[in-house]
């Protein structure tokens, strides 16, 4: 191996770092959605008059029809787990595993919303997965004092087997 102190072809690397701060503006629709969560503890959707769907979480417009949404409607608190994954690997900056996240369609909603699923026995992953594939019923559970964030709520299994 060449001596790096004299090797003219030794590869050089330069360290870099991105640590920029940002302030994201939620906008009119998501602000109201989050304020409904924080103040009224309820999940709201918006109705698209063109495709007759209730979009959850609330959106100011339906991107499929490209029209503004209209009426605000409360949905849930119960719903069906449409699909899920069990996160089993730790990654920096992401929630600690094992956790279940899933898309749930709440009563009165036409679309599914993603959040954590609580109350799943994760001792045997394949067994847990097989049960969750039956698309069990869940109920919205507020996980503490609401902050006006999507993580204010999660879904708890209404049945566990």
């Amino acid at each position: 191996m060449a001596d790096p102190s004299t090797d003219m072809t030794a590869p050089v690397t330069v360290e870099g770092h991105w640590d920029f701060g940002y302030t994201y503006f939620a906008g009119d629709a998501a602000s109201r959605f989050f304020n409904e969560l924080r103040i009224n503890h309820r999940i709201m959707g918006t109705h698209c008059g063109s495709c007759d769907r209730v979009l959850v979480p609330a959106r100011g417009f339906c991107d499929a029809c490209f029209v503004a949404t209209g009426e605000w409607r409360e949905v849930g608190p119960e719903g069906t787990l449409d699909t899920f994954t069990i996160l089993t690997t730790s990654f920096p900056g992401l929630p600690e595993p094992p956790i279940v996240v899933g898309y749930v369609t709440l009563e009165g909603a036409s679309s599914a919303v993603l959040n954590a699923v609580l109350g799943v026995d994760l001792a045997d992953l394949d067994k847990a997965g097989a049960f969750l594939l039956t698309q069990p019923r869940v109920r919205v559970e507020f996980t503490g004092e609401p902050q006006g964030r999507i993580t204010d709520f999660a879904f708890r299994l209404l049945e566990t087997r």
Binding site: T83, F84, T85, L87, T88, T89, Y103, T105, L114
Partner: protein, 390 residues
């Protein structure tokens, strides 16, 4: 109006795909473009258009990398810009170049697509940052969990099991062992896939693509330039591209099709097949499927016309797509053996072209007359399908 058969791919240049490259991005770009021009038997002076694809800036840690990599692809003095649509970046760049050629902006275009994601200290953390910061990012969504959410939906709807997907992985790894450019060349068995570390159930490590770097370049020209010349080329016989809504939850109960029906791919494929005059991807001898995950490959089977969606598990069990069959799936090993994100969708096109031109080396399939390639990107919302013919 169909513009099919007006364009030809005449050259391909690729760096090997590896976990990490020690060269600089401009050096790697120049190498791949130089190889593509040599393969096309043309000089840089003959190029009119240079389109570059580069996926999220955060992966490479270089903001607006177009400033530095496009000149390394020969952009100086030419019509040139950069494209980014996540996983479809590479093919979106190719389509932009093809559209410009069809519009009469020039006769010859270079398309180059780049990935330097190993420069990031935490690839999953960067991938989390591509999601909606208002409604989604805090839930821990990553590209892997996004895939896993679709995989479990396919299990519930169509009866896929982890064993089906392990068989898909085994076949892709067996093919990759023939391809010296592939990153993973070890022929892992289905059993080893099942026993690999679980990442996001039901997706295990060997169901998922590795972290990969590399550059792919393709030279496209107006077909009249090479027809009758005796030079090998692949005719662009048909292509289709369609976008969908962003939120995956919005695609769960739609009358037009479920999240995992991949309707944008179905419709892109139908358009491409009609232009090319074929009825399904079964009419191709080679299909390069853009799928960084095993379940993602099987999600394309119905859209490409291999079978009805519910029959996908049986198609896998039959061993369809292996070496020696009437249609070989991913002879290069596919995105599972190397997934340089910004380049992957262009690699699928480049590999299809190499098969048509008879220049695929150790993974050349015999007598390829029609080859299909696909692209899937964004939150699985951007789809493309391309048919090449000899």
């Amino acid at each position: 109006m169909s513009r099919a058969h007006e364009l030809a791919i005449i050259g391909v240049g690729q760096t090997p795909y590896r976990r990490r490259h020690s060269g600089s991005t401009p050096e790697l770009v120049r190498q791949a473009v130089g190889d593509a021009l040599a393969d096309a038997q043309i000089s840089a002076r003959e190029v009119d258009i240079v389109i570059g694809g580069f996926a999220p800036d955060g992966l490479s840690g270089e903001n607006s990398p177009d400033k530095r990599f496009l000149p390394a692809a020969g952009a100086v003095g030419r019509w040139s810009f950069r494209v980014n649509t996540g996983g479809t970046t590479g093919i979106a760049a190719a389509y932009a170049a093809m559209d410009l050629l069809e519009a009469g902006r020039g006769d010859v275009a270079v398309v180059v697509a780049v990935e330097r994601m190993a420069q990031a200290n935490s690839v999953p953390a960067v991938f989390n940052s591509i999601f909606d910061p208002i409604y989604e990012r805090d839930t821990g969504l990553s590209t892997i969990s996004m895939g896993a959410l679709r995989a479990s939906r396919m299990m519930a709807r169509w009866g896929y099991t982890r064993e089906h997907w392990a068989a898909v992985a085994e076949r892709n790894f067996a093919h990759a062992a023939r391809n010296p450019l592939a990153q993973i060349r070890r022929p892992y068995t289905a059993q080893q896939v099942l026993e690999s570390r679980m990442i996001a159930w039901p997706v295990s490590q060997l169901d998922a693509c590795p972290v990969s770097e590399g550059v792919c370049a393709v030279v496209v020209c107006r077909a009249g330039r090479v027809q009758g010349s005796g030079q090998p080329f692949a005719t662009v016989a048909g292509r289709g591209s369609l976008s969908d809504t962003y939120n995956m939850g919005d695609r769960m109960h739609r009358p037009i099709g479920d999240l995992v029906d991949a309707i944008t791919l179905s419709r892109s494929a139908r358009r491409a097949f009609t232009e090319a005059g074929i009825s399904s991807a079964r009419d191709a001898q080679v299909v390069e499927i853009h799928a960084p995950f095993t379940h993602g490959e099987t999600m394309t089977y119905a859209p490409l016309g291999f079978c009805a969606a519910a029959d996908g598990p049986d198609l896998v069990a039959s061993g369809y797509g292996g070496w020696g069959g009437s249609t070989v799936l991913n002879p290069s090993g596919g995105a599972q053996a190397a997934n340089p994100v910004g380049a992957t969708a262009l690699i699928r096109l480049a590999e299809a072209a190499r098969q048509i031109m008879g220049r695929a080396g150790g993974h050349q399939v015999a007598d390829v007359r029609v080859a299909v390639s696909t692209g899937q990107g964004g939150a699985n919302q951007f789809s493309t399908c391309t048919v090449l013919a000899g």
